[in-house]
Symmetry: C2
Subunit: 196 residues, 2 copies
């Protein structure tokens, strides 16, 4: 019964077609512009068929969010591997984070709720949160204070706040100049790193 296989592959394919169609539409018209009927149009079906593959519209966004986290993670790891010095690794990773946000604006908005409703930090796969990628490096830099989980958390969120805040400002408003962004970013990162 190889036909069963083929049919399963086809189903898997339309499912992924729905996702990439959604992704495409969002890139063109923004999250506000996404509708089930548009997706259906793109994949050359009618709207209700989508419910064979997803519970509802939100489930589609959820899936895209998860894909986003996966990609972000890959980029962060790649950045980490670009050096062996913890301070340099941290900087490279935050810069990669920055780059990810602007290479995938819409996805980032979905993931972190800038201009969007769905935002689901909780969707990040448990075992590979950015937090778990960053903190070990920070720990090695902190040495003495490294034992205190509270301070670690606090410092992580200080990094996170400034980077995410700067991203939000750029994503939502008219944006600052590239030089100033870069200046603030590196300045803040090294500042926090030194304060560890």
């Amino acid at each position: 019964m190889g036909s069963k296989d083929r049919i399963l592959r086809q189903k898997e394919e339309t499912r992924s077609n729905i996702l990439s169609a959604a992704c495409q539409i969002v890139k063109e018209d923004g999250w506000q512009g996404l509708s089930l009927r548009k997706i259906a149009d793109a994949i050359e079906y009618t709207a209700p068929i989508i419910y064979e593959y997803f519970d509802n519209k939100e489930a589609i966004l959820k899936e895209l969010t998860i894909q986003g986290y996966r990609l972000l993670n890959k980029e962060l790891i790649k950045a980490k591997d670009s050096s062996t010095d913890p301070a340099q690794q941290l900087e490279a990773m935050w810069l990669a984070y920055w780059k990810f946000a602007f290479s995938n604006k819409e996805t980032y908005q979905l993931m972190f709720g800038v201009e969007m409703t769905t935002c689901q930090m909780g969707l990040c796969p448990e075992e590979e949160t950015p937090y778990k990628l960053f903190t070990p490096l920070m720990k090695t830099l902190m040495k003495d204070k490294g034992k205190d989980e509270d301070i670690l958390c606090q410092k992580y969120y200080t990094y996170y706040s400034v980077v995410h805040g700067l991203i939000s400002i750029n994503l939502v408003g008219s944006g600052l100049s590239d030089e100033i962004n870069q200046q603030i970013l590196k300045d803040a990162i090294t500042g926090i790193t030194l304060s560890l």
Copy 2:
């Protein structure tokens, strides 16, 4: 012809009724839950009447945003007047900013695009931007470097990034503990202030 006056006053009142009804609904059901028909219901009219007072739904949100900026400004000035020492003033103002965000979550979301679409930084009345409130103080603290407008701008956005970023994280996710928030906030603010 006092009736003309009365009628004008009435129109002004329904206009403001629309705004406060919108505000109320938003506080109860979030921005997603706001609809013209709900507003109309609240003010005991039918939906199309709203178009006599506002161009469209977006115009209502715009107005609320502007009101938000006005209130924020008042709070910032009040905070500034609580001290004469620039460093203390800066801290008090950023803390006031923080407090404003959480006392007016929905409005803040509208103003700065956390979880919302309308966000319009450009709506801040030109002559009373937070920027113009913060930078003079920073200038006095910077003394020598104070002349360089670029560095001033950069430092302002460093403040802004970390505060807004931290707010976003709290507004959008499940939120950190109050102590950690307070710790990060004050830590970051004094850190940046010292770096001036």
